[in-house]
Assembly symmetry: C2
Homo-oligomer: 212 residues x 2
């Protein structure tokens, strides 16, 4: 939501893409709809059942870890997920003649996912330049923008606040209760809470438990 708010603040018309990929926390699709209603001129929810491939706690039967952000790549990593998401954005941006793709990846307070790193984003940009009509016809390629890449969670939360983001309609948790309460213990909850605490702001998230 902070990424979308930044794009809008910079004067872009925002076309939002949400992927319904069989995620365990599918209640995030409702959050996406609320956020798009506030910030986007158009919103598409694309179904793609990544459970066909499996291999992740977010799409399969593997448990979401609740014991703090560890070393290495956690089981919540969804194989090649951001590559798939960005490929969809690349396809749609070519049809729409969109100038920029915004993605809210972060490489500081994050879970160590390979597809959130600056070198990955640069490689995707290079590939994208060759993948589409512009790569043959010599027109300006779409630009992949990652304005949150080098910010801490604290900085992201402060930035969103300065842009008037209503955090009560957002959701970070990987494993919310059926009623939509955040678990308070998964990596996404840990990182979110840490960010709010460091920014000295109240987190409006309703947690199922008080956490660590």
């Amino acid at each position: 939501m902070v990424c979308a708010a930044l794009a809008r603040e910079a004067g872009y018309s925002v076309i939002a893409l949400t992927v319904d990929y069989g995620q365990r926390h599918r209640i995030e699709l409702e959050a996406a709809r609320r956020i798009a209603a506030e910030l986007a001129d158009r919103h598409v929810v694309l179904p793609l059942d990544l459970r066909a491939f499996g291999g992740s706690a977010l799409t399969g039967d593997i448990e979401v870890p609740k014991d703090g952000v560890g070393e290495g790549i956690p089981v919540t990593y969804v194989p090649a997920r951001n590559t798939i998401f960005l490929s969809f954005c690349l396809a749609w941006s070519e049809v729409l003649h969109a100038s920029d793709i915004f993605i809210g990846v972060n490489a500081l307070d994050y879970s160590g996912y390979p597809d959130c790193r600056p070198e990955y984003v640069a490689a995707f940009q290079h590939m994208a330049n060759l993948a589409t009509r512009g790569g043959v016809e010599g027109t300006t390629p779409v630009r992949i923008q990652t304005p949150l890449l080098h910010l801490t969670k604290r900085e992201i939360i402060e930035l969103g606040r300065s842009l008037g983001v209503d955090y009560s309609i957002t959701l970070s948790c990987y494993d919310p209760s059926p009623e939509g309460l955040a678990c308070g213990h998964c990596d996404a909850c840990h990182l979110r809470r840490k960010g709010f605490a460091e920014a000295g702001l109240d987190d409006p998230t309703q947690y199922a438990s008080a956490g660590h």
Copy 2:
């Protein structure tokens, strides 16, 4: 099918992925099933409705051209399609610990699609190396193999024949009749017929008309 037969000949176990992307020539999904039954150890047909984005004669209301292979990128180009397909293969290969991804793209007798060119494939490989666990953990990345990239259609057809490929179960046409007869006039039909003619082989395809 020639690409899959080559992989099998080289000793690989073949796991086949077909994308049901809302293509006009969806009868190719039946051909994919026949081919997978013959050559693959496992086959998944993944639904992904690319009509959500549009922008192509293969997924929308634009007519498929029937006046010969021209200059430039034709309207049958599906934006970022091979990037999307390869992203799926990347995800699945990571889950399966597959060593190689085979894709039958060709950059000689082809329609000029940007995502069939060697420089595109090289850029995707580089991006893939960074996108997945191996890019962080330093394990051997999956290798993208394009054995047909630099062959003419004639060479591809001769190669398939030497591997015992049964061309009667394949389909190339972009705009087949509801009964599955190839149109004989789209780019895919033109290139296929040219290949068979140059190889001096009979094309078992049933065409709706005699063509040019």
